[in-house]
């Protein structure tokens, strides 16, 4: 198989794309991201590689951000597709809860294009089609996972400044001075037990088991499409829990007494647990038109979803969400509006960075300007968490193969809490100090490079 792909690669003409991006953050840090995409395509297979080089705070990382490979074979109405792939479920582009078969790369910050956000994962799909109905059965042998910065990066759950802030606050905690050294060992143990690079290149690997299974039935015509979905799968977002003993000290803001040191040492053996619980997912979607608008909707029931709680605790329970999207296109202009209602069936008043019940709204307006340039305005808001973002971008071609994209993003939310592990807003508000300006230079040749 590999030999076949290798020899076919030599026959296919590669397509190259280069993207160089400089990001200036509000805190004056500058990040450089250089991306090289190489892709090949033949009749029965296609592959692409996305290589990302990041430089931040004098540290550098080279990451294979995503590689895609798909082979397909047909026997009459039955098709087999296998490879490292991205699959699409659901109809919402920005707020979808249904479209989570692939893991997502959360380490790059908010408002990343969905095609980059999704991490390709090994998937085998057997599908058949009759009349207007398509039935697909997929197996994901390794269960995809989100790529998430937990500690030490710009877009992690605990940023470097926040860790220092917690440590500084702890100096004032009450307790036995003899056990003060515990504080240092706590932070050392936490740092050693989780990936803490400024540029996270790895995510947690759960031991493989029998993988995930999904079933999809779709019906379509030119005027309307609909689908129902079912999956038995591991959650893509990790359940992260600080040991309850340690969380208790953080919550009560005290240092353990010498009598409690044994308990503390036991807790420090495995201070943070990270796992990916399994759940059933049942969903449905529909896409049609109304007046001048494209109208899309989706629904999801998830039997077990983790609600993050304050002090790095977590709670599991059922979850439902329903979303609707409207879009219209005229000339070179596009307007898109999405709204989603989400509700944890087992709510908690102690939730952290995510509300038990909320309505989220996202919109995009893309306006064609002279000289083949475009102005793009994007915004998103979480009504329960009172946080969101606004982004403005201007792209214009400087030659037929080169273009420049200027972007600025403003993140807002409730004021930062002294203790970040009890912050009352959402994750965007949590990162409100990371407003940025960015400049992209893109090279996209018209034809095959060779």
């Amino acid at each position: 198989m590999i030999k076949l792909l290798f020899s076919a690669s030599l026959r296919a003409s590669p397509i190259l794309e280069l993207d160089s991006q400089a990001i200036v953050y509000q805190n004056t840090n500058v990040e450089i991201r250089n991306t090289l995409v190489v892709s090949f395509r033949e009749k029965s297979w296609k592959t692409s590689y996305r290589i990302l080089q990041r430089s931040l705070q004098k540290q550098h990382a080279l990451v294979l951000q995503g590689w895609e490979l798909e082979y397909q074979h047909r026997w009459g109405p039955i098709a087999l597709r296998l490879g490292n792939r991205r699959l699409r479920w659901g109809q919402l582009d920005v707020l979808s809860d249904l479209d989570t078969l692939n893991g997502t790369d959360q380490s790059l910050g908010p408002s990343i294009h969905p095609s980059i956000l999704k991490i390709p994962t090994p998937i085998v799909t057997l599908s058949t089609r009759a009349l207007h109905t398509n039935l697909s059965l997929s197996w994901l042998p390794f269960s995809a996972q989100d790529r998430l910065g937990i500690y030490g990066s710009h877009w992690s759950l605990v940023t470097p400044n926040q860790a220092e802030s917690i440590a500084a606050n702890a100096q004032d905690w009450s307790g036995d001075w003899l056990t003060e050294a515990w504080l240092h060992s706590l932070f050392e143990e936490i740092e050693e037990s989780i990936p803490s690079a400024p540029i996270p290149s790895l995510y947690f690997q759960e031991a493989p088991d029998y993988g995930d299974f999904t079933l999809q039935a779709k019906w379509d015509s030119v005027a309307i499409s609909g689908g129902i979905y079912a999956a038995w799968m591991r959650n893509r977002r990790p359940r992260i829990q600080l040991h309850p003993t340690l969380a208790d000290y953080l919550q009560s803001e005290r240092i353990p007494t010498s009598l409690e040191l044994n308990d503390v040492n036991e807790a420090l053996v495995d201070p943070i647990s990270i796992d990916y619980p399994r759940s059933w997912r049942l969903g449905a979607d529909v896409s049609t038109t109304i007046s001048i608008f494209g109208l899309r909707g989706e629904f999801l029931y998830q039997s077990n979803r983790t609600l993050p709680l304050q002090y790095l605790q977590a709670q599991d329970g059922g979850y439902i969400s329903a979303g609707i999207a409207l879009d219209t296109l005229w000339d070179s202009n596009l307007f898109l509006l999405e709204a989603k209602y989400a509700h944890y069936l087992n709510p908690s008043s102690q939730s952290w960075l995510e509300a038990s019940e909320t309505v989220q709204i996202a919109s995009l307006l893309r306006i064609g300007l002279p000289y083949q340039s475009h102005l793009q305005l994007q915004a998103g808001v979480d009504t329960a968490q009172r946080d969101g973002f606004a982004q403005v971008g201007l792209d214009f071609p400087i030659r037929s193969n080169y273009s420049i994209l200027l972007q600025g993003a403003l993140l807002f939310g409730p004021p930062q809490a002294e203790q970040p592990l009890v912050y009352s807003g959402g994750v965007i508000g949590y990162w409100q100090d990371e407003d940025y300006l960015s400049l992209h230079l893109q090279w996209k040749p018209n034809q095959s490079f060779l």
Partner: protein, 243 residues
């Protein structure tokens, strides 16, 4: 005597019949075409796009499936039109970056076709049946016919210059609602193949924006068997499967 009869026949042709005949002559049966689309900006800068278009004509509709292969930022974009007389179906666009089919309907259909000076509606070949046609001008070589459609969203009227020789429209002037020339379509090159006259090179000039779009057919296969163009090809599921 025969010549007199022929002239007499032409003289009796109504403008509506000329237009319908021209539309029919333009209609290509089942075919597969490779087309280069060149966008020319106001400053003269050019941008090229390549796509393959598959056409299937049945008694009820003309179906077209288009897939872009260049440049890389739109490679894999697919478009399906179902063109039925007197019926407006949504047009389908498959967006590879989102892996989703977008339906385009109503006023949006008058929007630009992939950033070009052609609107989606310009690419449709059928008549709505609501048009009225009047003969504007006639000489030894050409008929010029003005067509109006009170329900048309973009144009007040359009003026079509049709060759008497092969009954192919070689020039169409589209007038905006304020009665100014908005766009001009010119057929610059034709080729005879399998007994049909094929417009090989077509230019659309946008007089308002100062931009142009040139469509050149680089390869064409006519009379393609229907088995090579199954009805399933013109569906959202096919577009998603052929990402």
């Amino acid at each position: 005597m025969n010549l007199l009869l022929f002239i007499g026949t032409l003289y009796a042709i109504e403008p509506k019949e000329i237009i319908e005949s021209a539309v029919e002559r333009q209609q290509i049966e089942n075919s597969i075409q490779t087309i280069r689309m060149t966008l020319v900006s106001k400053s003269g800068a050019t941008k090229s796009r390549m796509f393959t278009m598959k056409l299937r004509r049945d008694s009820d509709a003309l179906r077209s499936y288009t897939r872009f292969s260049e440049p890389s930022d739109i490679r894999g974009t697919q478009i399906v039109f179902i063109d039925r007389p007197n019926k407006k179906d949504p047009q389908l666009i498959y967006l590879p970056a989102l892996k989703r089919v977008q339906r385009i309907v109503g006023r949006a259909q008058n929007g630009s076709f992939m950033g070009s000076d052609f609107s989606f509606a310009d690419l449709e070949q059928s008549l709505s049946g609501e048009e009225t046609h009047t003969l504007e001008h006639e000489d030894a070589e050409w008929w010029t016919i003005r067509s109006t459609d009170p329900n048309h969203k973009n144009y007040l009227y359009w003026s079509t210059k049709i060759s008497k020789k092969d009954q192919i429209p070689y020039q169409v002037d589209y007038y905006a609602k304020n009665n100014t020339l908005l766009k001009r379509l010119t057929v610059e090159n034709t080729r005879e193949q399998d007994g049909r006259v094929i417009p090989i090179k077509t230019r659309m000039e946008n007089h308002k924006k100062g931009t142009q779009t040139i469509l050149e057919i680089t390869e064409i296969r006519l009379n393609v068997p229907p088995e090579e163009l199954p009805l399933d090809m013109f569906s959202p599921a096919y577009m998603e499967e052929n990402d």
